[in-house]
């Protein structure tokens, strides 16, 4: 008897879930917006740059080949790229943008702005130029003071201007044989890299935006579900359901399941489209499932609170803005502030960043998964109570 009862409850819930999902599909606005957001997010993701140019490109003139190789040869390893111009006039044209530097397999070439670059070459903006006098090396070595013109484009930031000045001065100090005024007996102690050195392997804009995109799709789902819940309350179709064998608990469970299910399906489609399952597919899927449950809970709260479309949208925004903050914070380097870590979506975003970008496994992600699960229980519980009261008040 009890087994039949349990089965019938499940059957009723599955009927309501099917009805909700059908309604979702029939609602042309939300169906259109859901598809639009998915397509737009996927397109935007693939348009974002997949590399990080962390070097500074500097043009120079006046140094002969051997001197250039001697003075600038190792600088490339340190994140500096040098482009040689024939003379100071050509260098000025490069910095002013009247000539364009192309970087290809055979090195740099300087061409007119409308000319096609060599095959396989890419444009290399040069906003800084160093115009050395022809006798820079010999005169400096002889103790004479020469003058170097540093040409900078108008949009070169102040810190870069002073840095380039400093580079020229250090070159001169080196030629003149004036050592650094600090203890350099152990160079490894002076310049210490802390943490994994990611020079040449930086997190790209595409990687940084990935959690934000995934979360945006989940948030869109929250708007859809809250709108459908609000509509059902306004139209009082929920009371029609209650005259069937369905109980309030069945309706609430069905709302939660259909919200989480549709959110999860969209998130999985997105993750597949932006190639995000990576090395930890099960962990990513678990995080997304918990994220979908969390937004389903918030949708129940927003849908119960809003009296009409605008009201529901407003309450949706009230939830969306704080929940999006951790996704914004993930775009910035460094650790998040304490108050950001206290937001329910933080463990989800941190978990996604860790699993997808840094390849964290279950051990590293365990605390995040547990914290997220706790938030899910809390938000889903609140959503359940709020929606239950709203349904019972009709």
């Amino acid at each position: 008897m009890s087994s039949r009862k349990a089965t019938s409850r499940l059957t009723i819930i599955s009927w309501i879930v099917r009805k909700d999902l059908k309604e979702y599909g029939r609602d042309r606005l939300w169906a259109f917006l859901t598809a639009l957001v998915l397509v737009a997010v996927v397109a935007l993701f693939w348009v974002l740059p997949d590399d990080v140019d962390e070097s500074i490109t500097i043009g120079f003139s006046g140094l002969g080949e051997p001197a250039a190789a001697r003075l600038l040869g190792d600088a490339g390893d340190a994140g500096l790229r040098f482009v040689q111009a024939a003379d100071a006039e050509q260098l000025r044209a490069v910095v002013a943008g009247d000539l364009v530097a192309w970087s290809g397999p055979d090195g740099f070439s300087l061409l007119e702005p409308d000319a096609d670059g060599p095959e396989g070459a890419s444009k290399q903006p040069v906003a800084i130029g160093l115009a050395f006098p022809p006798d820079f090396e010999s005169a400096t070595a002889a103790g004479e003071t020469t003058r170097v013109d540093v040409l900078v484009g108008g949009d070169v930031p102040p810190e870069l201007r002073s840095t380039v000045e400093g580079i020229v001065k250090e070159m001169a100090y080196g030629i003149a044989g004036i050592p650094l005024p600090i203890d350099t007996s152990n160079p490894d102690e002076i310049f210490v890299v802390l943490g994994e050195d990611r020079v040449g392997d930086q997190v790209t804009a595409r990687e940084s935006f990935r959690p934000m995109f995934v979360f945006l799709v989940l948030m869109m789902e929250m708007f859809v579900m809250s709108s459908l819940i609000a509509k059902e309350i306004q139209d009082r179709t929920v009371t029609a359901l209650l005259v069937t064998p369905a109980r309030t608990g069945d309706i609430l469970a069905a709302k939660g399941i259909s919200g989480a299910l549709s959110g999860l399906v969209q998130a999985v489609i997105l993750l597949l489209a932006i190639d995000s399952f990576g090395r930890r597919p099960l962990l990513v899927l678990t995080l997304m499932a918990l994220g979908a449950v969390m937004v389903s809970g918030t949708a129940m709260i927003a849908g119960s609170a809003g009296k009409d479309f605008i009201g529901t949208m407003f309450y949706g925004m009230v939830f969306m803005i704080p929940l999006l903050i951790p996704a914004f914070a993930a775009l910035f380097p460094g650790s998040a502030s304490v108050w950001i870590r206290a937001l329910p979506s933080y463990p989800l975003i941190e978990g996604l960043v860790g699993a997808i970008t840094y390849g964290d496994g279950w051990v590293e992600s365990g605390p995040r998964v547990l914290t997220l699960a706790a938030w899910c229980v809390a938000l889903f519980g609140i959503g359940w109570v709020v929606l239950k009261r709203r349904v019972e008040s009709i």
Binding site: S55, I56, G79, R147, L160, K169, P181, G200, M313
Partner: protein, 354 residues
């Protein structure tokens, strides 16, 4: 059309409006967008190298580095704290200066330097912070460089990102007050059927629609000025400023009334805004990317009101400087009256008033 009847409807909307969440959006959104774009995304578009310093004595290097432009410098107390924060990339680099660092430097005793770099910091930032530190140490030591360096700036200085974001933020403020408010208000009345009750009274439909537009206009002008003030971009020329904002308000209010008259319900307005939002916001994106072909922005109708706002507030233009653009804006406003009148008539037919 009776002005008195229109004002009555306007007063009713003004009294009842604050009950609607959209009024809250009108007031909060400019503040929120300013906060998000200027505080958060501003530094994302234009990041500065971040240096932490622990000064165990009172080195002149610390004072010098704090006075530099273009660096974010934070002074910490504890070397261990500095190392932990550099490792977690809260800073790109960290510098620990030992006690009596300057004295040892001047005495030629070659003090020890601790310079930590975050593994996730960019190579370019490492160079900037490393070279800057060395240069400051040389300066404190007092040695003269064996070279004279002359800085020559070529071309105009670019505008900072905070300024380039202003058109986008102002456009948002105008959109919410001038487009969303009249559109949602009109569609809401239609959805709830209250517009039918209004038009069976002596009030005519055109007066109801105009009242909605007036409500949007009255709120959009002060909100645009408030947003410019928030972004420190009011400028000093009040007459040109008011003129360009009034014209912007008029154009966008017309768009709001068109959306409201064209939609059967608020969901329809939402769909229209979602679908056409890019057409309204489009020109503001071009200020963020000055290397894009700027002529494309002129294809968007809102360009002819947002660019005059930009020219007057950021570049200090007077009315003469933007007269051509304002002339086109007036033309667009006049042209938009045609679909607005047609849609209002269609709405009237659907309500059975004509």
């Amino acid at each position: 059309m009776s002005l008195a009847r229109m004002l009555k409807v306007f007063r009713k909307d003004l009294q009842l409006g604050p009950r609607s969440p959209i009024f809250l959006w009108v007031l909060i959104l400019p503040l929120l967008i300013t906060l998000v774009l200027q505080v958060a995304f501003g530094s994302l578009f234009d990041p500065k190298p971040r240096l932490a310093v622990v000064d165990l004595g009172s080195s002149a290097v610390t004072a010098e580095v704090r006075s530099l432009d273009g660096l974010e410098v934070t002074v910490l107390d504890d070397p261990d704290d500095l190392r932990a924060k550099v490792e977690s990339h809260d800073f790109d680099a960290g510098l620990v200066l030992e006690r009596d660092f300057d004295q040892l430097l001047r005495d030629g005793a070659k003090p020890r330097l601790e310079f930590y770099v975050a593994g996730e910091s960019l190579a370019a930032d490492r160079i900037v912070l490393g070279v800057t530190t060395i240069e400051l140490i040389r300066k404190v030591e007092g040695s003269a460089a064996p070279v004279e360096v002359r800085l020559v700036t070529i071309g105009d200085e670019g505008l900072p990102i905070a300024v380039r974001l202003v058109p986008l933020i102002v456009m948002y403020a105008l959109l919410v007050a001038a487009v969303f408010l009249p559109a949602f208000s009109l569609a809401d009345e239609r959805e709830k059927g209250t517009i039918s009750a209004l038009v069976v009274s002596p009030v005519r439909l055109s007066e109801v629609v105009s009242a909605k537009g007036l409500l949007g206009f009255v709120l959009s002008v002060p909100m645009a000025i408030f947003t410019l003030w928030l972004n420190d971009a009011l400028g000093a020329r009040w007459l040109p400023l008011l003129t360009v904002i009034v014209l912007a308000g008029l154009l966008l209010v017309e768009i709001g009334m068109i959306y409201g008259a064209a939609s059967k319900d608020v969901t329809g307005v939402f769909t229209l805004i979602k679908g056409t939002g890019i057409l309204l916001l489009g020109p503001t994106i071009f200020y963020l990317f000055p290397t894009w072909p700027q002529w494309i922005a002129k294809v968007f109708p809102t360009y002819w009101v947002i660019n005059p706002i930009y020219e007057v507030t950021v570049n200090g233009s007077d009315l003469g400087g933007v007269a051509g653009e304002l002339g086109i804006a007036v033309g667009v406003i006049a042209l938009l009256l045609i679909p607005l009148a047609a849609l209002t008539r269609r709405l009237g037919r659907s309500l059975g008033t004509t």
